[in-house]
């Protein structure tokens, strides 16, 4: 596959898209870990929801 004289523009476009999508995925994964960690810490201190169910419970 030859990309011709404008290969740098094509490669940069795909690389930028990959980088932005990777940053989005990374941000969402790290945010999820951070929130579940904070919820666990609060529950360990005895702060629980009125329902009594775990705040990190997903099922």
């Amino acid at each position: 596959m030859s990309l011709g004289p404008y290969a740098s523009f094509i490669v940069t476009s795909y690389a930028a898209a990959a980088a932005v999508v990777a940053i989005l995925i990374g941000w969402i994964v790290l945010d999820y870990r951070s929130q579940t960690q904070r919820l666990r810490e609060l529950e360990e201190r005895g702060i629980t929801r009125r329902s009594g169910r775990s705040a990190t419970e997903l099922r």
Partner: protein, 261 residues
């Protein structure tokens, strides 16, 4: 499961836990197929290999408007139906929509340099998409500026619905004004102007990016629900500390009085 059932955040979290792995797998598979087909697509007789930028640029441009559309429907859900997850959906979509809009602008610019001889031109299509990007940033700033999520939600919903006026302007800018940007070539009266060798990879990439948005959006909504649980537990903790401090000082005051008597 109906939409009303999903109004319960716990049920929504249970649904996302079940659905997210499947959505992520479908996204990866479709992206792999789309990228493979894009790599094998022939060169355009005028644009050469730069036509491959289209397979990234067009899905991102479509999604930049689609995400604002999703946020507008969610805003109606906040203002009209007061659906508990509507503002969660709107808030979670904004950074994802901003990312797609940024990519549409960047890849369009990288496509424009070899084809038009310039990275940027203040024509109606490019300018209206830049305004959309700035509105995404403004909306994200608004969400961060107001501490109370329900107050922020109403202000953000109004801004989102006002901003939706920009969507038809973006779509029809190439018809209403004389622009450097080409007119619509896929979704237009009389069918697509693209050859199948370009159209099929483009549609596969568009579906793949849409699935990517749905996956990221559900995951970001789950995070936002957890963030609100953290906030409510922290407020509960703060009120307990305040209450125990108050009752402690009252007790102290009483013992002082007894001592004085």
């Amino acid at each position: 499961m109906t939409l009303i059932d999903l109004a319960n955040p716990t049920r929504f979290l249970a649904l996302t836990a079940r659905v997210l792995p499947w959505l992520a797998a479908a996204t990866v598979i479709l992206l792999a197929i789309g990228l493979y087909q894009s790599a094998l697509a022939p060169d355009d007789y005028q644009q050469g290999a730069t036509v491959k930028i289209m397979f990234i640029h067009v899905p991102n441009a479509w999604l930049s408007m689609f995400v604002w559309g999703v946020m507008s429907i969610a805003s109606l859900g906040t203002l009209v139906w007061r659906h508990p997850l509507a503002d969660v959906a709107a808030k979670a979509a904004a950074p994802i929509g901003a990312s797609f809009t940024f990519l549409a602008l960047l890849t369009g610019s990288l496509w424009g340099r070899p084809m038009w001889g310039t990275y940027w031109e203040w024509d109606a299509r490019l300018t209206s998409v830049l305004i959309l990007f700035l509105m995404y940033l403004g909306l994200m700033a608004l969400w961060r500026a107001v501490d109370d999520p329900s107050r922020a939600a109403r202000a953000a919903a109004v801004l989102t619905l006002v901003g939706a006026i920009n969507l038809p302007i973006i779509k029809f800018s190439v018809d209403w004004w004389n622009t450097l940007h080409q007119p619509a070539s896929v979704m237009r009266m009389g069918g697509s102007a693209l050859d199948k060798s370009f159209l099929i990879p483009l549609l596969v990439m568009a579906i793949a990016f849409t699935l990517l948005f749905v996956t990221l959006h559900l995951a970001a909504m789950r995070n936002e629900i957890l963030r609100r649980r953290v906030r409510s537990l922290q407020m509960m903790q703060a009120s307990r500390i305040a209450f125990s401090g108050e009752s402690g000082s009252r007790g102290e005051g009483a013992s002082n009085e007894v001592g004085a008597a």
